[in-house]
């Protein structure tokens, strides 16, 4: 059946067919059409034409026969079928189709369409085989190619004409719309014209980018730029401030450091005049990851980038003595005010919130789904093995009422352990031990599967949580960040919350994880040692996993009679618009059992030197009159008025029960007794020291007069209360920071 074949073209024996339409040309032995005919791949007209040629030329006929024989031989030798998927893989797929008919619904790539496309286009980090043109077609409404998932969610801003905006930091920006887009557009313009004097440029000059209501301090970009003349860095910083004020947390710009770690850059807030902004509103934040992460860097002899230092996460890392609530409320609020240690003319206010601790025995049953990143990047002693150690520790704390499942994700996602009651600890132990690193990260698919499983075993009145353990490298993913956030938000509403645990060093994507946890009504911890694993997962397991209050918001109303200006220290990415305080549809942070939250305000009293506060501008009337010295007489009695006039501020707290939809409000007024720093409580002194250290690390302007020696001195009184030894470790860390090369 195999006869000597023509040895191919020895010259121009025929068209080698760069096109399929050979027209009426004579058919040569080396015509692709001949092969196509032999393989039954031609349609009727072409077939008829070839058959006519074959009838006239036996040599061509022979070639067709040989081709058919060779094709049959190869076809028989080539197995059509490969291996089947593993049972787990198949299960994961079918499970998903069961639970989510139609999947995520109509696939809307990156939430484009509503607002963003008109102002700014997003360039997608394309897989190399995809042309940029195709991607842009997708964004601007072209039909979706079958494999949209090949686009990574990593985006860069594009100018309106589609050309990439280059910035010195190569920012990665999520979905942007409205004012934020204008800001970025402005930045592009500013960076392009940064060598010119301010005012030379044309287009966006003087454009108000946000309403005065949302930005009391910075009403236009140009006003902001008067504060910081527009070098590239300054423009970038101003933009961050504006974005923070706008409150578009999706539009955080990240600044990768040398190791590829990305941190959201959010500028600390300046002093605000009470005349301009009587209210300060923010969402509480019980995260502590920033401190552990910075500790890791300092211990390794590195200076942490400013953006990795989040003051509130430093403050909330440490246990305080604040008494737990005695009444029905889930937490107690403690207020204290003394002299500000870094500026004697200022007052420092500490707001301490102590969540109700939960007896371990009293805790509700847990339905935990561990979502473990087993991608290749987790193959390091301080990553996957540490995850396994953490899980083993947590497993010891669980009992037969609790259920654990493990989902792994790497190149693909799979169920490594079906939901298992904790009476079968050996089975769970085995699954933990069997985790192996390999493949690349596909976090989004894993999160979806984990949520499916958590939903299936939902425990009413219990703890239903997905615990994500990863180094945060979500670069290789299926979905856009927005789709992922939308999924997590939707699941959080159903009662399944998300805890993110960051592991390892090198490519920890801090900002990604914090935002993920934030979307999922969850919290985020950074785990760098077995000790930290024990702290987060065991000592505080009840707090990390049991939410006692959700959507906890704080609003501080300052008394213009006593306070000239103030600034909130930290919580830079937790600011809320004042009107969102009473708006129960606005999401905020959660408090877990035993959690504590500390916030500090630096307050400039009336009559004190303004310091770095902005000088008064304009003659805007105050709501309660411009002359606080002459209080209005009221029938209520002078004493009450006198007390009211002496109040420094009132802290208002709103929260919802974990399953509630309506918030509860409490108010706590604070009168300044004029205490000096030395009279402050141990907790207060230690918190001030921690904040001072964080500000020093951030290099913030307010920290110009802060020295590490002073920080250590402020902490000394607080060291006498130190369960767990965390405060002593803090002092060690100060020494390490001091030894860093400047």
């Amino acid at each position: 059946m195999t006869r000597p074949a023509p040895t191919g073209p020895t010259g121009p024996t025929g068209p080698t067919g760069s096109t399929g339409s050979t027209g009426s040309r004579p058919l040569g032995p080396d015509d692709p059409q001949l092969t196509a005919y032999a393989l039954d791949a031609l349609d009727a007209p072409d077939r008829a034409r070839i058959e006519a040629a074959l009838a006239a030329d036996p040599a061509l006929r022979a070639i067709v026969d040989e081709t058919r024989a060779a094709a049959a031989t190869l076809s028989a030798a080539l197995p059509r079928d490969g291996a089947a998927l593993t049972a787990l893989q198949r299960q994961a797929i079918v499970l998903r189709s069961n639970a989510r008919p139609g999947g995520l619904g109509r696939w809307t790539p990156f939430g484009i369409g509503a607002t963003a496309a008109a102002v700014i286009l997003l360039a997608l980090d394309l897989r190399a085989h995809t042309t940029e043109k195709r991607a842009l077609g997708l964004i601007t409404g072209g039909t979706r190619p079958p494999d949209v998932g090949q686009f990574s969610p990593t985006m860069s801003p594009l100018a309106v004409d589609g050309s990439p905006v280059s910035t010195p930091y190569g920012p990665t920006v999520g979905r942007i719309d409205g004012a934020a887009a204008t800001v970025l557009e402005y930045r592009a313009f500013r960076l392009a014209t940064k060598d010119q004097a301010p005012g030379v440029g044309s287009a966006p000059e003087g454009r108000a980018v946000v309403s005065p209501r949302t930005t009391p301090a910075l009403q236009t970009v140009d006003e902001a730029l008067k504060v910081s003349p527009p070098g590239a860095r300054e423009v970038n910083e101003v933009v961050e401030r504006l974005l923070a004020l706008i409150g578009d947390r999706h539009a955080l710009v990240t600044e990768p450091n040398a190791d590829g770690e990305a941190y959201a850059v959010v500028e600390a807030s300046p002093f605000l005049r009470v005349a301009d902004a009587r209210l300060s509103t923010f969402s509480i934040d019980v995260d502590t990851a920033s401190y552990a992460n910075v500790r890791r860097m300092l211990t390794a002899g590195q200076r942490p980038p400013a953006a990795a230092v989040r003051v509130e996460e430093f403050l909330n890392y440490f246990p305080y003595e604040d008494p737990a609530p005695t009444g029905p409320d889930p937490f107690a609020v403690h207020l204290e005010v003394t002299e500000c240690p870094w500026d004697g003319a200022h007052r420092l206010v500490r707001v301490g919130i102590q969540g109700r601790p939960l007896e371990r025995k009293a805790r509700p049953p847990m339905n935990l789904v561990f979502l473990v990143d087993v991608s290749g990047s987790m193959n390091a002693p301080n990553k996957l093995p540490l995850v396994q150690a953490s899980l083993r520790m947590l497993l010891e704390e669980l009992n037969e009422r609790d259920s654990v499942a493990i989902v792994v994700y790497a190149g693909a996602s799979g169920l490594a352990l079906a939901p298992t009651w904790c009476e079968q600890k050996a089975v769970i132990q085995q699954a933990i031990d069997a985790l192996r690193p390999g493949g690349s990260t596909n976090g989004a698919a894993g999160i979806e599967l984990a949520y499916e499983i958590a939903t299936q075993r939902f425990v009413k009145d219990g703890v239903n949580r997905v615990v994500l353990a990863t180094d945060g490298d979500f670069n290789v993913g299926v979905t856009s960040q927005d789709a992922l956030h939308a999924l997590i938000r939707a699941k959080a509403k159903s009662g399944v919350f998300l805890t993110c645990l960051g592991y390892g060093m090198g490519n920890l994507k801090d900002a990604t994880l914090e935002r993920l946890a934030d979307q999922g009504n969850g919290n985020y911890g950074y785990i760098d040692s077995t000790r930290e694993a024990r702290k987060v997962l065991v000592d505080e397991a009840s707090g990390t996993l049991v939410t006692i209050a959700k959507d906890v918001k704080l609003q501080v109303e300052f008394n213009p009679a006593t306070v000239a200006s103030y600034r909130l220290i930290g919580y830079d990415n937790r600011r809320l618009a004042d009107r969102d305080f009473a708006d129960d549809t606005k999401d905020a942070g959660e408090v877990g059992a035993g959690h504590r939250v500390t916030a500090l305000y630096e307050v400039v009293p009336v009559g004190a030197p303004e310091g770095t506060a902005p000088a008064p501008t304009g003659e805007e009337p105050l709501r309660y009159g411009a002359r606080p010295a002459s209080p209005p007489v009221s029938p209520g009695g002078l004493i009450a008025i006198d007390l009211l006039a002496r109040e420094l501020l009132t802290v208002k707290v709103r929260w919802k029960e974990p399953a509630g939809a309506v918030s509860v409000k409490r108010e706590f007024p604070l009168v300044d007794g004029g205490a000096s720093y030395g009279k402050a409580s141990r907790d207060f002194q230690f918190a001030a020291s921690v904040a001072g250290f964080a500000m020093w690390l951030r290099g913030s302007p307010s920290a110009a007069r802060i020295t590490l020696d002073a920080v250590a001195a402020w902490a000394s009184e607080g060291l006498s209360f130190d369960p767990g030894g965390y405060r002593a470790e803090f002092v060690d860390l100060l020494a390490k920071a001091k030894s860093l090369p400047r």
Partner: protein, 189 residues
């Protein structure tokens, strides 16, 4: 769409295409484990796709996405594997492609056919496999590989020509250099 309907559709697609796709992916990525991951991902994507759009072109869609995912996988992988992705994508020749199963008992013709296939560039091998192993149309193959239909025709033709020539050789002339490579075959069983 009702959940049962969706699941039935998915199960049928799995039954029909799971193994062919793993075979295809195994050729592309050279590792059955990675191939399974790729194919699982493909089906997870299928869940998100619009069934009305995909169903009429299911085979084409599945093979296209499999190929794209496989290329992604190779690009993300090690440097050595990356050259495979370049070969697939840049249409460059690849001399050491895995060619499929080979057993001692295999008939000479089949062995020679696979040898001949193995000597072709990755791009030529791919179009031949899609046609001869999976029976896809030239148009489907063009869609999957990103080539024009006529380019697919030219590649298949050139591949078949080389194959015919190899099968026409006496068995004794089989190049000895092919023997060591047999050890690396068999990944797709």
């Amino acid at each position: 769409m009702p959940a049962e309907d969706q699941t039935a559709w998915l199960t049928s697609a799995l039954d029909q295409f799971e193994r062919p796709l793993v075979a295809d992916a195994t050729h592309l990525v050279g590792d059955v484990h990675a191939a399974r991951d790729v194919v699982q991902d493909v089906f997870l994507r299928l869940l998100r796709a619009s069934r009305a759009d995909v169903d009429p072109i299911l085979a084409r869609w599945l093979f296209t996405v499999t190929r794209n995912r496989a290329v992604d996988h190779l690009r993300r992988g090690k440097v050595t594997a990356k050259s495979n992705a370049d070969a697939l994508d840049g249409h460059a020749a690849r001399a050491d492609a895995p060619t499929g199963p080979e057993t001692a008992a295999m008939r000479d013709d089949a062995r020679h056919a696979l040898e001949a296939l193995g000597r072709l560039s990755a791009g030529h091998q791919e179009v031949l496999r899609l046609r001869l192993s999976h029976g896809l149309s030239y148009a489907d193959i063009a869609q999957i590989t990103g080539l024009s239909v006529s380019h697919v025709g030219v590649r298949i033709h050139a591949g078949m020509r080389a194959l015919r020539a190899r099968l026409a050789e006496p068995a004794s002339q089989a190049p000895a250099t092919l023997a060591p490579r047999a050890a690396s075959h068999g990944a797709s069983r």
